[in-house]
């Protein structure tokens, strides 16, 4: 479980996060949503330590991440897998080298064990046999799946996905969403997904956090998001006429 307590973060005079508190449960897909510029990516980067918080605490299973020495932070980060918006694959390495990289750095596996693990991860994301391709030779969807394979190579306890569906067609988006959900349940990870994709929010979001004006404005489940009458979240999630109709139908079903 990851707990965020009263976190604030400013860049110069611009206050991005303002006393944000949230808890992200183990074995569930925790989704962070919000309009662009509201601070959701900053929150995720604060949680993983890519940004230092100004105030507040972040705890990974009761381990205080904010006041942790850098060496301990590095150790904790070995338990984190992250899928970046642009995949962030190492472009000078093949698919296999990308996935084997964290294992080479931190595991005591033999070469054969590493290769077995790479093949397992590639099979898990339906990319078996693509070991020798370079990232530039792969499509956007494939790159995301390779990044997921790399993120799960070390059996992470915590999985972060920053806009996993951006730039993907609807079918590939569904594929990625299903993969994230399956991995979360299969490996019992604490998964945090930052997304703009409302389909993902409804489909895979076990817990949803809505960030608005630098605050955790609303927190609930995918069923509760349909029921809520909170104007900010309704205007954001069900902004289009199409989504409004879907909401009406879903409310009838509930």
């Amino acid at each position: 479980m990851i707990e965020v307590k009263n976190v604030s973060k400013s860049f110069g005079k611009h206050n991005v996060l303002n006393d944000v508190s949230a808890s992200f449960e183990k074995g569930k897909v925790n989704v962070i949503i919000g309009a662009s510029g509201q601070g959701k990516s900053v929150l995720a980067k604060c949680i993983v330590g890519l940004h230092e918080v100004d105030n507040g605490h972040i705890e990974f299973d009761k381990r205080d991440f904010v006041n942790m020495p850098s060496t301990e932070r590095r150790e904790l980060r070995k338990e984190i897998g992250m899928l970046f918006q642009g995949s962030a694959l190492f472009d000078s390495m093949t698919v296999e080298e990308n996935i084997v990289f964290p294992l080479t750095m931190f595991s005591k596996f033999t070469k054969k064990e590493m290769l077995d693990r790479v093949n397992f991860c590639l099979e898990r994301v339906n990319l078996a046999g693509r070991n020798n391709l370079f990232p530039a030779e792969c499509s956007g969807g494939m790159q995301k799946r390779i990044a997921i394979a790399r993120a799960i190579a070390m059996n992470p306890k915590y999985l972060f996905c920053d806009e996993p569906n951006s730039g993907l067609d609807p079918q590939t988006s569904i594929l990625i969403d299903n993969l994230i959900r399956e991995i979360t349940y299969e490996f019992n990870t604490t998964t945090i997904v930052i997304t703009h994709d409302m389909n993902s929010v409804i489909e895979i979001g076990d817990n949803i956090n809505f960030i608005y004006e630098g605050k955790n404005w609303w927190q609930g489940t995918s069923k509760e998001i349909v029921k809520t009458d909170n104007p900010e979240i309704v205007n954001f999630v069900f902004a289009s006429e199409f989504m409004k109709k879907i909401r009406e139908n879903l409310r009838k079903d509930l």
Partner: protein, 247 residues
């Protein structure tokens, strides 16, 4: 004020760069890759520059020696001294600042803007030690070899140009090369080269690592890296010369 803050940031970066690598096996593998990229791939440009530089120094010296009071072997002596003391270590390092510096800065800068450095950090890898330390080690180890190679080719270029133009004989040129030779000149030149190699790679890495923005900013960082490392070379050259030759 900005210069002071940038200097502080640069030294903070160096403090982290010289931490213990996460895995020595990976560190040595990366160092040999960098020796290939930074060093061996620079051999052709260094060879080309050195031969022509040596040829021009020898021709310039020979053509300006119109007094009979100066012996013919002076041409070889001046060519050797200029090449070993200044032209090979400094001019070749300035050229390498352009070639290697822009390469290092743009490689690391591109990794920064495409979040590859963030990916390393998230995995728990010390990204500065992983990326920069092998480059610095490769430069410190291989730049002196490059410069010795340059010295040899420069002197060879000088000999070819003199023989081809008929301005001097092989015997007097070789006699000049061997006259008043001091081993300390080589020590001085190679010591300079180690410092220049360190400055080129560390400064370029600094600009690359702290790039913010997109492709345009990577280009800007690359230019800044070349300019700053060239200035650093000139300043370091001045101070090292003071220390070694005028003590």
């Amino acid at each position: 004020m900005k210069i002071v803050s940038q200097l502080g940031k640069y030294f903070m970066m160096l403090w982290i760069v010289f931490s213990k690598p996460d895995k020595f096996k990976v560190f040595w593998k990366r160092t040999f890759e960098e020796i290939q990229l930074i060093g061996i791939n620079s051999l052709p440009i260094v060879a080309l520059m050195s031969v022509f530089m040596g040829a021009v120094i020898a021709l310039q010296t020979a053509s300006n020696m119109d007094t009979p009071w100066l012996p013919e072997y002076t041409i070889g002596y001046i060519t050797r001294s200029s090449t070993i003391l200044e032209f090979s270590p400094t001019i070749i390092s300035l050229i390498l600042a352009g070639k290697v510096g822009s390469n290092v800065s743009s490689e690391i800068g591109m990794m920064r803007v495409t979040e590859q450095i963030d990916a390393l950090e998230i995995m728990g890898v010390n990204s500065l030690t992983y990326l920069v330390l092998p480059k610095i080690t490769a430069a410190i180890v291989f730049f002196p070899i490059l410069i010795m190679f340059s010295m040899g080719l420069s002197l060879l270029g000088g000999w070819i140009s003199l023989i081809a133009s008929g301005l001097s004989s092989t015997d007097s040129y070789v006699f000049g090369l061997r006259s008043f030779f001091k081993v300390s000149d080589i020590t001085y030149a190679l010591s300079k080269t180690v410092v220049f190699g360190f400055l080129i790679v560390s400064i370029s890495s600094f600009y690359g690592y702290y790039t913010r923005g997109g492709a345009l900013d990577v280009g800007k960082s690359s230019t800044q890296a070349v300019v700053s490392s060239s200035i650093a070379i000139l300043l370091a050259n001045f101070f090292i010369t003071q220390m070694f030759l005028l003590k």
